[in-house]
Amino acid sequence: MTLLAVDNLTVSFPTADGTVQAVRGLSFSVEAGKTLGVVGESGSGKSVSALTMLGLNPGADITGSAVFNGKELLTMNQQQLRQIRGADIAMIFQDPLSSLHPHFRVGWQIAEAIRAHTSVNKRDAKTQAVELLRLVNIPQPERRVEAYPHEMSGGMRQRVMIAMALALKPKLLIADEPTTALDATVQAQLMELLVQMQNEVGMAMIIITHDLGVIASVADEVLVMYAGRASERADARTTFFSPHHPYTRGLLGSVPSATGVVGSRLTPIIGSPPSLISVPTGCGFHPRCPFAMEMCIDDQPDLVEIPAGGHHVSACWLPPEMTGVGVAMDTARQRYASAHRGVRSSKLPGVVAAVEGATVYA
């Protein structure tokens, strides 16, 4: 059953420098009880898309649709959204220190979430808060319920955020880079906790990250975003072993091999993400793509089905059968790209690197 279906979402912010097109026609869906991983570099529109679901982007111009549990979210008023926030869709954020109110005890903050949606009294809400802290494996929950956020470690704080998010047994939990601010061992524990809680509560999850390694073992499906658009979407296995999009390929190259996901070297994608005020023409990735061709400069590729793997779609002009991460496939991509270069595309830095046979990805 589809829990959340987002269709052709666009989000832009009018600013003094021009309109920031943070999300430009994004479509994806989340199945009940499943986990969607959303990956992309900083500024690709991951957070903005998530916040838009909950109406937490003041000042944004929004078009498209987002149907949650049969109801359209984007046309709801604040009062209707308020009933969904925290109750049906809960969200946790990157920095658990700045995401908790520094002046209130953590137990109080959890109880407040409960009382915002139910009519339990203060004492019962606090008892529930203790139970929730126990559920997320916080030692001595009766004592920690009285702690202030600054009295806890980063990992503990994020557990508090998770406890708060689970308070009303949401149908969907959106975790926006839940472990980015924490060190590696704590990251692994928290991801494990999220999966454990998912089994307990039966909720769906959207886990946003810029580190593919984080969601390797957790996500059912992976959505790769670039410059406010979906560039590729597939089940987790396909994403890691048979990606089609050069950007996904690049992200995999960026995964340290120590995570055991892919065996390739740490090769960051050259350049940096484009300004969202003046997004490149054609394929938004073309200024950085090692395989950019003449058509990539003019025409924006749509998401098309990649026949080999189930629900695999990718937005790239390279032939659909060119999937995979090996050196052989990269060479095949380079050959194809060279054959389709033109006057302008041969001047792109990415293509120069590819033509010279440099080890862009290998």
């Binding site: 937490l56 995401s99 109110h101 002046h103 915002a116 708060m164």
Partner: protein, 325 residues
């Protein structure tokens, strides 16, 4: 928390001691100054000088003078002594004791008005930035900040007292009226309403500006996003979560302003003829009544130091992180 407060109180006492010592050096032990002559005021006679020299012990070594000066300031009944006014020969403590209730009355009443008014206008402006409300608030702030107290005070007196009274509507009391709160609380408030409004309107502007900017900043914080993501009402988000954090700069400013009014609101007191510390110090300066001036300087410093301690205590109440540092 207790340790934090004790540290703050000790710090306050040290500050007070430094001020007291500076006053001593400035008025009694400055080279080239004859303190007896300064204290004597305008009607100097050799006999008076001799008297003062004897009473204050100005012929003793400086450190003995300093020690006696400190002893006179220890707040124990019978020992506490700020000297004698050289004008009407009343003890300075008596003069101050008469004036201070007026300043406390002025401060309490106007503080309530300026806090409520200033913070409300600030919240209104911050909730709808760049709206008509916000622009209105800006005009209010600019007027309040640039309006001199004496103009506003005289304006209020002219319109609300003079014009109304000559048209037979005598709602506001004539300047110089003051009823102690212990005599009649209603009369007390009625007599003070115009000075309160004067002080409050001038001061409130600062609070609107502070509230607006600090609330706008807090509303962009991550934990406010969390509060909204929990499904709290916007009202609760603003008043319970955001305003709570915005109070820190407001409390700081409040300490300064409260101490300032307590130490004597010179202009307001002069306009409305209220015999508070401000008026007393002005009159004392005019007639070179140094004992009174020194006494009021010391009392005003005490208010500033005390206000600082209260502000620090409030910080600790508001922000648990302060209690540990």
């Amino acid at each position: 928390m207790t340790r934090f407060l004790i540290r703050r109180i000790i710090l306050g006492l040290v500050t007070l001691w430094v001020i007291i010592t500076l006053v001593f050096i400035l008025y009694y032990a400055r080279p080239g100054v004859d303190p007896a002559r300064e204290l004597a005021g305008r009607a100097v006679t050799p006999a008076l000088l001799a008297n003062i020299n004897k009473a204050y012990g100005f012929n003793l070594p400086v450190y003995v003078q300093y020690w006696n000066y400190l002893k006179r300031l220890v707040p124990i009944p019978g020992q506490f002594n700020l000297g004698i006014s050289n004008n009407n020969h009343l003890p300075v403590t008596t003069i101050i004791a008469q004036a201070v209730p007026i300043d406390i009355s002025l401060a309490v009443g106007s503080a309530v008005i300026w806090m409520v008014l200033g913070i409300s206008v600030g919240v209104l402006a911050a909730r709808r930035p760049r709206s008509l409300w916000d622009r209105g608030a800006t005009v209010f702030v600019l007027t309040g900040v640039s309006m001199p107290t004496f103009i506003l005070g005289l304006l209020l007196l002219y319109v609300l007292y003079y014009l109304l009274t000559i048209h037979g509507i005598a709602i506001f009391p004539k300047p110089g009226s003051y009823t102690p709160i212990t005599t009649n609380p209603l009369e007390w408030a009625h007599d003070l309403i115009l000075p309160w409004i004067t002080l409050a309107l001038i001061t409130a502007a600062t609070y609107s500006r502070l509230t607006r900017s600090s609330l706008l900043e807090v509303l962009g914080e991550d934990y406010i996003r969390t509060a909204r993501a929990k499904g709290l009402s916007e009202r609760r988000v603003v008043y319970r979560h955001a305003l709570r954090s915005s109070l820190t700069p407001i409390v700081t400013q409040f300490g300064i302003d409260l101490a300032t009014v307590l130490g004597g609101a010179i202009i307001t007191e002069s306009i409305f003829g209220l015999p508070g510390l401000g008026l007393a110090v002005v009159q004392a300066i005019e007639v070179q009544n140094l004992p009174v001036v020194i006494g009021i300087v010391l009392v005003a410093s005490f208010f500033v130091v005390a206000a600082n301690i209260v502000v620090d205590a409030l910080y600790a109440v508001l922000d648990p992180r302060v209690r540990v540092s």
